[in-house]
Symmetry: C2
């Protein structure tokens, strides 16, 4: 099975755990069987592999997510990087070309596309396999998966099938109706459109070539910025007659707000937290190293990260976006391909971060124009390089880098470093990257 | 006027802003006319001086509070340090001896004793002056100030005067009655006992000499640990016939819980905080550097410090103590005579703190047996001394101190330092103090 996971952009609705650089699919909030927490994308990847270990999984995403994806999933996953955001048709066309030209997937093979962030169980992934098989149909060009509605939601588009059989031709689509119309649609057997569909690789590639002048994946990648923004629905679905839909009645949840997300948590408290006996239906998600004490709270969520603290009535949690947009803040935590960093102190002319490098990983060789840096190694072993000079390092060692000096550090074991940045203009964009000199 | 302020011990009921080393009287929560926040003790000191600039103010307290008092009030204040906690009679006897022997206050002068932590206005301090004058009485040995009750509280002891005049002889005392009895007492003109009283210095010193065998202040200080624990009420008040009470009807609030404390706040939000339009009667007190967003909260308090985060229904906030007692945590913030430090990262074998030295101040010359330390100066100028060798320092400079090395730093301007402590056993008690070698 070939799967393209659409990994969307920034999410302010799950602030402070999601933000401009960390989307909700990367929040580690679901406990697995080993008692470890995993993110939506880790859960999704693991379950696709569990149902079919041969699956070729490609994430279609922006460059800003690449480090986090590699860090959470490993390097086995394919990533189709969108050079900029251009709506769903260019994104799916690019990922389809990537499958064909990079992953060498045959034109006759089928491809399943689905969003990375619904909360689903194993049955969902078996349904994806069935959808992948359905897409082999000689008659239908597109095979959708429709979710059996659990209530007349106004949030979703509806797929209206010709009949109520498990698989049926699609009669029409209905974009986000009001409750009354939604009720009527459901009576007719309508299904939620969760953006899950499958096609033969050739089909989308042919349309892409008709709409865009490009040779292959690399060419499409290079001219991506010049492409018109157009949705997959508008470019393909609305023009296609030969569409079938498969009903799915298993668990499928859109965990877009704290209210819905906490419904899917196995425990009420993640991280350091205490709830008094008088607390009811209250969830704590705490990524900080200090305890949260809740006294007499009812139907509330308390979420804390290095970015901030949210205390919300669960019902009200769906309205946080405009408030979060007003918060202008330094990014306090970032996952990188080599590990992560966390801001631990912020002053006018200095910034102190805790850097964690995964074992056997390495940050890019780089320099800064406008800041000096001091590393104090607090645990682990590795090798630092400053202006070409190598030095093995261990806890207690100090490396100083004046502005302009090229530097990197290579972790042997997991390496933790206190990095003090000093300068009048400390900015993440003040960075030049180099190849390590041999 | 001679005033002894009784500065009590640790307060868990205002966690996370008060804790084992920071009592509630030091929390900076009240906005003054210049828009700066001040603590209860700062407010109390300022107002006593405002009413009578000649007042001699002495704080009776434990050694652990001395640094914070000097830091918040300055060195002009007298401090009578209790070598250990021994209830109120030994504490007041020691402070009275301190006034006589150290501050050279005459035996015939009067002394006013009051707790440091009620929330009061200027009229209270004028009443203290009046009480001080009343204590000059040739007949009465003790003059109490009684608070006109605003409700039949079960929390306070009651003073029952002989009549309802402004100043009256005390008929009897009633310890924490139930509501019914409290109501009856109030009908008879009873007053709350706020622990505010005045006496002639000679009177308490004479009783102290009768009950304790000591020569002078230094002698009493040195044998303090051997003294019997006994309350001022038991040792003096209950045995004294000649007691008068003065009514006080002005503002007097016991800010012992978050519920009562927030009632006296001028604003709903201190520190970085946002409340949605749907929030009602909700207070945010945030000492952290990250924002708190509150959505749809009613009658709640959210308090955050480096120690932890409290989210509480206001009514429930008086029940936090047993929960806070279960939290075992590293002290994350401490005020010192020379400034303060804040823990910014905590690992198994390292601890990183932000040290702030006030300008022209200096930490003790000291060494550690079991940890190495690294200082990275992030702002300010000063002079570091390591094993007798002096070095001027500025932002960007690094000082390393292996275990055993004597070290200190002297701030010229305000000095900020990132200090990384490294070792298998990092403990605040691992410290030897020295005189700086000349």
């Amino acid at each position: 099975m070939n799967v393209i996971l659409l990994s969307g952009g920034s999410g302010k609705r799950l602030w402070p755990l999601s933000n401009d650089i960390r989307s909700k699919q990367f929040i580690k909030i679901f406990k697995n069987k080993n008692g470890k927490y995993e993110s939506m994308i880790q859960r999704m990847y693991k379950n696709i592999k569990k149902v079919n270990n041969e699956s070729i999984i490609t994430v279609a995403t922006a460059r800003s997510q690449v480090s986090t994806i590699y860090n959470q999933i490993g390097k086995d996953i394919g990533i189709s990087i969108e050079p900029c955001r251009k709506d769903t048709f260019p994104a799916i066309a690019l990922a389809t070309a990537y499958l064909h030209d990079v992953k060498k997937v045959d034109l006759n093979e089928t491809v399943v596309v689905c969003p990375v962030d619904p909360y689903v169980e194993e049955e969902y992934f078996r349904a994806l396999e069935k959808l992948s098989d359905l897409a082999k149909s000689k008659y239908y060009n597109l095979s959708l998966m429709g979710i059996t509605p659990t209530y007349p939601s106004e949030k979703y588009g509806y797929i209206i099938p010709e009949n109520k059989k498990e698989v049926s031709k699609v009669k029409m689509f209905k974009e986000k109706p009001n409750v009354e119309i939604a009720k009527k649609c459901i009576e007719q057997g309508a299904l939620w459109n969760g953006g899950i569909f499958a096609y033969k690789l050739r089909y989308v590639l042919d349309i892409a070539h008709k709409l865009i002048d490009f040779k292959d994946y690399n060419d499409l990648f290079n001219k991506y910025e010049t492409l018109e923004k157009i949705s997959f629905d508008y470019a393909i679905v609305e023009k296609e007659e030969k569409i079938q839909v498969m009903r799915f009645s298993g668990q499928w949840k859109d965990l877009g707000t704290w209210n819905t997300l906490t419904e899917s948590m196995d425990e009420n408290i993640i991280g350091k937290g205490i709830e008094s006996d008088k607390c009811q239906n209250t969830h704590i998600v705490n990524e900080l190293n200090i305890p949260i004490l809740c006294m007499g709270l009812k139907n509330m969520v308390v979420a804390a990260s290095a970015e901030g603290i949210l205390v919300s009535d669960k019902e009200q949690s769906s309205y946080i976006k405009p408030y979060v947009e007003k918060i202008k803040q330094q990014i306090m935590f970032s996952e990188k391909s080599w590990g992560s960093y966390r801001v631990i102190d912020l002053q006018e002319e200095s910034l102190t971060i805790l850097v964690t490098l995964n074992s056997e990983s390495c940050m890019k060789y780089h320099s800064h124009d406008f800041r000096d840096e001091v590393w104090t190694i607090i645990s682990g072993t590795g090798k630092a390089i400053v202006d070409g000079i190598e030095k093995t390092v261990k806890a207690g060692d100090i490396i100083t880098m004046k502005a302009g000096r090229k530097h990197t550090i290579i972790a042997e074991t997991e390496l933790k470093i206190i990095e003090v940045q000093l300068g009048k203009e400390i900015n993440v964009n003040d960075k030049h990257k180099f190849q390590i000199e041999k």
